[in-house]
Each structure stands twice: as C-alpha cells, then as structure tokens.
Symmetry: C2
Subunit: 81 residues, 2 copies
C-alpha cells in the first residue's frame, strides 16, 4: 500500500520560508502572495503484515509525532490500495 | 489563481532524508520502504496582471530555476483557476 503524507504550516502561522520564496519570485518578475512551503513524504508498506486498522493508527501516530510538528503544522494522510 | 508546485527527488537519486524517515519509522514499529521526501510550494497570483500564457512560462521558469534542482529533482506544476 502506498502512503502519501502532506505536512503544511497551519494557517495563521508565520511561514518565513514561504516569504523568502515570494521575495525570490519577485526577482524573477513574478508577483505572488500567500506562499506556504510544506513537505511531502511518500512511502510503501508491505500488505498483510499487520491489520489495516492497526496500520492506519500507526500512520497517524507517525504523521503526528515524527513527520510533523503539531504546534505549527497540519498533516494530511492519504492511503492508496 | 492558485499555484501548487510539488518538488520530489528523481527516481534513482538517493534520498538520504527518506532513508532517515524509514529508519525513524522502524523505531515506531512501522516497517516501510521506498520513502521519498519532497516539498510542496503553494501560492496565489493576482489575475489579470499579465497574460495567462506568459504567467505559465514564468511559473515553469520559477519551478525549474528557483524551486527545484533539475539535476536531482522533478517538479509538478498545477494551476487552478
């Protein structure tokens, strides 16, 4: 099964990396706004090793405690297959 | 118009960050494989400032030259609206 986790700064949280990108784009002649920079983490899990429900709980645990910082970031978990 | 750029390591390119995530997930009791870590960059562009075609060219230029490293990364550009 394929797992796709998106981690983005919460709305309302200052995103200095996004602001740096806006500034750099301005030098390319592109006026943009509200830029947010996040992460994508993709991986595969072998099917049938543990129960589906158990895997999903584990994936939420990993997304919350390892892949994101819940104080300033939100995660979105997608599981395929 | 909303712009969404995904930047991921090319397949075949070693992803040390992905390997670190796999290792860390193992400590959480989750056996995964083929982990790749990428970036998402989202921003908005005010409509009507320049021609659509010109904006798209500009966005590809920015995605290639600023947001990604074409030697080791691929980008995917999505434009909404």
């Amino acid at each position: 099964m394929k797992v796709h986790v998106e981690v983005k700064p919460k709305s309302g949280v200052l995103d200095p990396q996004g602001n740096a990108v806006l500034e750099a784009m301005r030098h390319f002649g592109l006026e943009a706004r509200n830029c947010r920079v996040g992460k994508i983490i993709e991986f595969e899990i072998a099917d049938g090793t543990i129960r589906r429900e158990e895997i999903e709980n584990k994936l939420h645990e990993v997304s919350r405690d390892l892949l994101s910082n819940p104080v300033i970031e939100d995660y979105k978990l997608q599981i395929e297959g």
